[in-house]
Amino acid sequence: MVVFQKPHALTDTPFHYCPGCTHGIVHRLVAEAIDDLGVEGDTIGIAPVGCSVFAYNYFNCDMIEAPHGRAPAVATGVKRVHPSKIVFTYQGDGDLAAIGTAETVHVGARGENITIIFINNAIYGMTGGQMAPTTLLDQVTTTSPYGRKKEIQGMPVKVCEMLATLDGVAYAERVSVDSVKNVLAAKKAVKKAFEIQQKGLGLSIVEVLSTCPTNWGLSPLKAVEWLRENMMPYYPLGVYKDVTKEGEQK
């Protein structure tokens, strides 16, 4: 396995991410899928507002930087103009599941033929560690300094479970990048999501459980442990929807 060779679909621009941040790994997985499918020249990516805002400098395909939360609507506009191109968004949990919830749900409802790469790190990274819709109960953030409380902030949002209820969603899988094994599974999921788009089956989304060591206040290693111990039980990994396997499922 050639893990350390840079995929062609990534530019030479060095990542700005903190040490141990998993944004970089996910960028690589997306780029590898683009390389594997040979679609770099046919791909248009949409960057979010969040730590990955500079994604437009990292991917070697045409890129658009969307307003906070609006990437799915921007992707809709692009895809409707170029139905034969691959269009993906790359979004954090604040972007996708708070300010952009309506846009996210409705690309699902319309069965928009795009792929969403969703980074769930249970926090707002870019703005310095505020509570996200995916922040866990009792998790301390700068805007939930006593821990998130059900009575005050409600329960964390489970995006894949929610989107799987929509008929227009073709594929929803939650993966993690905490181990080599899980990274390989995540790689397969990302590639599959793009293939589903190529087949025109509807919305494909891959939710990636990710770390934010900086704002979690943990070392990169401890952050991975925290992800396993706290995020994985609440956000179980797995395929929540796969129209290519309907019938076999459940």
């Binding site: 020249g41 045409d62 658009i64 609006r70 921007v74 506009g77 103009v81 170029h82 846009e103």
Partner: protein, 355 residues
Amino acid sequence: MAEKLLMKGNEAIAEAAIRSGCRFFFGYPITPQTEISEYMAKNMPKVNGLCLQAESEVAAINMVLGASAAGARVLTSSSSPGVSLKSEGISYLVGSDLPCVIVNVQRGGPGLGGIQPAQSDYNQATKGLGHGDQHIIVLAPASVQEMATLTGEAFDLADIYRTPVMLLADGALGQMMEPVDFEEKPHREIPPKDWACTGHGGKRKPNIINSLYIEPNDLERTVVERYKRYALIEEKEVKYEEFLTDDAEIVVVAYGITARIVKTAVKAARAKGIKAGLFRPITLYPFPSKQLDAIADREHVKAFLSVEMNMGQMVNDIKVAINCKKHVSHFGRTGGVIPTPDEILENIEKVGGAN
């Protein structure tokens, strides 16, 4: 040959957009502009175009952003409350130098306001459409014919200057039926959209559409560059109409539907021996400041009267344009009330008497 069709103003915009090569429309229903969406829903499929009803005005304007970034001619329309929702997206379109046409068929405000015609979004359109140092071109039609003609010009201007262009109409113009002639006007030369995100096909470097510049000096440079383009727009694209202004002592300034009512009042004033004239800005940005200033320099001009369907928004632009050289006053009705020729005439007389 000219084919004349009897149409509502809203429909004329939609038809003109299709004839201008627009194949993508994104909107969300709101009175009094819904006929645009409905016309598009019916007619876009016939030309292999797309009319998509978005989940909100916020989504619609961002679909516009995507379609524009992808290189397409694209239209969205709304009315006052919906335009407020679009303002985030408009600011990003400006910051990303993306062309598109946005229609505001104004109704009364603030808040949910009412559904009757108003011009209360003048300041929003010309000064406050989104955060940041910015302008967008604003065109104010005054007839169904102009709804059509200016729509075609709006698409050209958008593509030439890589900017959003707004057609600022009102509920009266939108609903009014008049004959309209869609005779093909030669379009202006449009530069190639080599910046668009179409997939690079391995043949060029990736195109990036973006409004983020984290280095203050970089951001300042892009804004300053954009303002050079605004200077060009201010120099070349000003449009206005004059009616009996040559010897006018009282110059009434009005745009859109109001200008038509003013015309009647001006004629009535003339019949009474009052030398009144009408100056009608067609571009609200760029505002015809120089032209108004030149008129203010005429010795026989005594005063300006701004007539608007709002509480007095354009009146300040006139004062600035003429450096308060002559007296400028405002008469307006708001909330969806349309001024009558009689009350305008009364105000012309008042202004005339005051001098």
